[in-house]
Symmetry: C2
Subunit: 128 residues, 2 copies
DNA sequence: ACACTTCCTTGACATATATCAAAGAGCCTC
DNA sequence: GAGGCTCTTTGATATATGTCAAGGAAGTGT
């Protein structure tokens, strides 16, 4: 498996989260307890991913050649009604994990890989 | 037991997830959609972390010098009743993010850093 | 055995969530 | 503008979740 996007080789000082999204957080560390506010924001994003349907939607977006798909394509893939899929996509949208763009009749949802990776960075705990 | 955990100085290539826990998952990738089963398992673990109280509990365990704490210590820290904290700790326990060990009257919960890092690894998506 | 501490479970309640059908909102094409 | 797509919102319902009080379970000490 290729690790193309790892920040392992980058200088630790580079905080490239703020550039791409307002949601960010330092990695959990043994140095100090997370603030209540940060815990709330982090939990919101994790909860958005804490649903099998939404995990599958994220994965499906990731595997699209164009990295995007519309509701009418996704609904049959996950086997749920369009309103339900729309509801789930809104959850992901609200925490910045996807973006949406209308083109004609369709609304195309696109994954924000940086936001997902930002979560990965927070969970890559700094203790050992 | 040393508080400096496991694989700090080990070669990065070593995939020691399968060794330490049954819950694991390859990083999300653009190559194929995650299976429904894997999505379920991954969502369960993310949902366990998708609550501000549980995030704070994890962070608090991480900051303990011994990497562990008992319910009676954690309850006042998060400002909730002991049964409620016990309930949250059980959620974390059920998905393998913490372990517990009784010593005398107290039950000490301990963070499983490699389980958290395993989640980080899954979210460090492989696409760009 | 008894009392005390810590922890968990149960029961109850309020809130949140997932889901769909139905209706509304946007955007075409004719 | 009429009709037909696509998408979202609303309303309804069932399930899940977070919380606490009360009581039970496990362990220690007298």
């Amino acid at each position: 498996m290729s690790r193309k996007c790892q920040y392992g080789d980058m200088p630790k000082a580079l905080p490239l989260l703020e550039d791409t999204s307002p949601i960010c957080c330092d990695p959990l560390t043994d140095l100090q307890v997370i603030s209540a506010d940060d815990a709330m924001g982090l939990a919101q994003r994790l909860k958005a991913l804490g649903d099998p349907t939404r995990i599958r939607l994220v994965s499906m977006l990731l595997t699209q050649p164009s990295q995007e798909a519309c509701t009418c394509e996704l609904a049959p893939l996950v086997g749920l009604s369009e309103p339900t899929v729309s509801h789930h996509l809104k959850q992901l949208l609200d925490v910045g994990l996807v973006t949406k763009a209308r083109r004609g009749l369709n609304v195309y949802y696109r994954l924000e890989p940086q936001s997902v990776k930002a979560l990965a960075r927070v969970l890559d705990i700094d203790c050992c």
